[in-house]
Symmetry: C2
Subunit: 459 residues, 2 copies
């Protein structure tokens, strides 16, 4: 045993002196953007603590980035610079390849494959890469007996990957949902608190750097979908299905919806939800009404939150920073530390909780069969009988109502229009779509009806 | 490498067939109460999943409990029964000793020592044992190169130990605080929601099994203190100091305090707080006012929550079940899984994050030097000048006030009494105590003044 443990470094009982005698874990970093630069700064400034905690020094020996000349405020002396990610992955004398480039294809993809093929551990923050090539990469990693860690890829600093992969071992998960895009949550929070329009809040988010110049990827829900696809696989053991997700962004959420939600005791959040149902696994990203008094409803601004419902543990909710150089670097560092504490070739934690080869095909539940409560906001002509007609169309589709409110001549609508707001009890997506379609045929509808799904935490 | 990994079981790439060929991880359980029985049920009913996820089967081979005859609704056929915990720890042919007995001394303590001395991994849910003997036990575990896991000892199903020990590697933690006692949180929640007295809520909690027949240990804050002491060591790397914690229970929290708190935008929770200050580490357990719109304020009933503030990650909050047979068993199982995935003699994760020998002496910050906001409720005689006098005593002690409210002839006080409620800006415990003492000397005070500290999440 002694020999066994010495060979790969020393055991915690050893003194600091001995710690530093242990082989250093050699790191190569591809990508020196905000996260990469933070990571370099942290590893360099906390070398001693890291050595003591990890049982061996953690040393950055190789880096690469697009522009070698750019001043990133970090000291790269003594660190070998490589011409490109693949070059670094193939040639550098390292134990761990850290990929902080981003993008599902191109350099990131090629470099990670090269690193794994070489039998290097890989740490990545790249959600797109995992969403589209995760299973394949996991299989290579497991064949090579190396670790492929990606805590930073989902919900930034929140250790949700570790919770799903390790803490919840043995649990059967029924639902996982969360706020996984800071841009959207910031916009929705501002809209509610300041009574501003979506467009104004988006502009402000862009000004503050919370939203990209081209915000589509965030506000249309794609970013959330990538993260959800990864969590779904960890939670349910299916092969990743990033393109089989029902997607609805927040661009159509109006200040009226937010106000009406508040009146009814709800708050609107963009949620990613994955759920086990009888007909398969539901994956959906859409604006969602959550009860005002639920914990997740209080998660404001750029903060993220992920809730996991399982049969043994019950409900676990984690709230934390979803982005930012430091928070993300912290997760990357945690992943590196796990590798430092393990030994090469002894990886026993399947990348996605279940061995990649044992992952099941994704059994998609059709959105039509989704069951839940619905918020429906209709603008209609101010005519006698309209209210009754709406109620009838609902009844015809076996939709029972929790509340139905008619608002005449309000700020909500011009004087010849009325707003009718309905909240349904649990029903199906199919029934709601049919009811709305038949209402549309009545001819008294003004503009598009607004339909927002309601999600409740487990009682 | 191949040989290396085969020798201790197979790698995730192997098929299920091969998984079952790997050596089983042999478990011995001491204590078959609610948690123990749940654990047996779970491990037996999920044998296959566990084998696949852990890379080897997990098998219960030995158990012991007080009463062998008692029907626990679990099947113990094929499992060897031992006369006592120490006997099992010393003689059973096992890899992991699971201690679910409880208590800091006696059988639990002796058995865990015996198991570690024998070089067995230990998993325990015993907060008292760790609070009083944790460092010593950690040292033995680290010398033997075995794991001592205790996720279930703090906040039941919430994976806060793993987050501190692994995910936050490299972070410098500034403060950790949380709701760690379900009984107290249940009582405070009921008091606020139903307007019931402390006594009535306690009775109900006892009727529902949320509170012990002798509730002192919970409601006086001792249970929270034990858990806090463990978290403090994980967060700050000091030796455990369970008896150096400022302690104030919830028995004196009145419905008036809860109402006044709500009026001022706060909610009262029993928090355990550990904080790094210039004069040392503060450890305190007391009723605390948290802002109504903070996430932790929404944590109701028996649910627990732990917040960690660190310099790299930022703030991480975890919410989940703090007790219960299944939730606790889930954490125990996660600990067992971590052992199954590791290899004997290669433990590299220091039990408390830092090697036991490297833990620093506890540098206690005196409570007098605590800085923060305060809520002060005074019942005074209805005399002219009293209000001015109170304000003056505050000013004399350099306490600036966020608000001061005088309530005459209300339900809060008989007609010849007044209630004065003050909320201070950040000040020191010392100043507040001096101010209250000098007010006491004025002679217009009726009964005891109520002082409740305010805790705010990091902005």
């Amino acid at each position: 045993m002694l020999r066994g443990s010495r060979s790969g470094g020393c055991r915690p009982k050893d003194t600091d002196q001995e710690f530093f005698m242990a082989d250093a874990l050699k790191i190569g970093i591809a990508g020196l953007g905000t996260v990469g630069a933070s990571l370099v700064r942290i590893i360099q400034s906390r070398a001693n603590e890291l050595a003591v905690t990890c049982g061996r020094p953690v040393k950055i020996v190789a880096v690469t980035a697009r522009d070698r000349m750019r001043d990133r405020g970090i000291d790269l002396t003594g660190i070998e610079w490589y011409g490109g990610p693949v070059d670094l992955a193939q040639k550098a004398d390292i134990d761990v390849f850290v990929e902080l480039i981003g993008g599902s294809e191109g350099a990131a993809n090629a470099a990670v494959r090269a690193a794994l093929a070489r039998g290097l551990h890989v740490v990545t923050a790249n959600k797109a890469l995992l969403a589209y090539h995760g299973v394949e990469l996991a299989q290579i990693a497991e064949e090579k007996g190396v670790l492929l860690n990606f805590e930073a890829a989902v919900a930034g600093g929140i250790p949700v990957i570790k919770a799903l992969r390790e803490s919840l071992t043995g649990n059967t998960i029924s639902r996982i949902y969360g706020i996984m895009n800071g841009t959207c949550n910031y916009i929705l929070t501002r809209m509610e608190k300041e009574g501003l329009s979506f467009a104004d809040c988006l502009k402000e988010a862009q000004r503050l750097g919370y939203a990209e110049a081209d915000p589509a990827f965030d506000i249309e829900g794609n970013d959330t979908a990538h993260k959800l696809a990864i969590l779904t696989t960890l939670a349910f053991g299916n092969r990743i299905a990033a393109d089989d997700i029902y997607l609805e962004g927040i661009t159509n959420v109006s200040i009226e919806d937010i106000r009406a939600a508040a009146d009814l005791g709800y708050r609107i959040k963009l949620l990613g939800v994955a759920q086990r149902t009888e007909s398969g696994i539901e994956q959906r990203v859409h604006p969602t009404m959550v009860p005002l008094d639920s914990v997740i409803a209080q998660v404001d601004g750029v903060t993220n939150a992920v809730a996991i419902e399982s049969d043994i543990l019950g409900e676990l909710l984690m709230v934390g920073p979803g982005a930012g150089g430091n928070a993300t670097a912290s997760s990357v560092l945690g992943d590196i530390a796990d590798i430092a504490k393990s030994r090469p070739g002894e990886q026993r934690v399947p990348v996605f909780g279940h061995p990649a080869k044992a992952l099941e095909p994704y059994r998609k539940a059709q959105m039509q069969s989704h069951e839940g409560g619905y918020f429906i906001r209709l603008t209609v002509l101010d005519r006698t009988g309209v209210f009754a007609s709406v109620a009838t169309r609902m009844a015809e589709n076996h939709i029972s109502l929790e509340s139905i409110v008619q608002r005449s001549k309000q700020h909500l609508s011009p004087s010849d229009h009325q707003t009718i707001i309905l909240v349904t009890h649990a029903t199906t997506e199919d029934s709601v779509r049919k009811a709305v379609a038949s209402i549309r045929n009545e001819g008294y509808l003004v503009g598009e009806p607004q339909v927002i799904r309601i999600e409740r935490p487990k009682e």
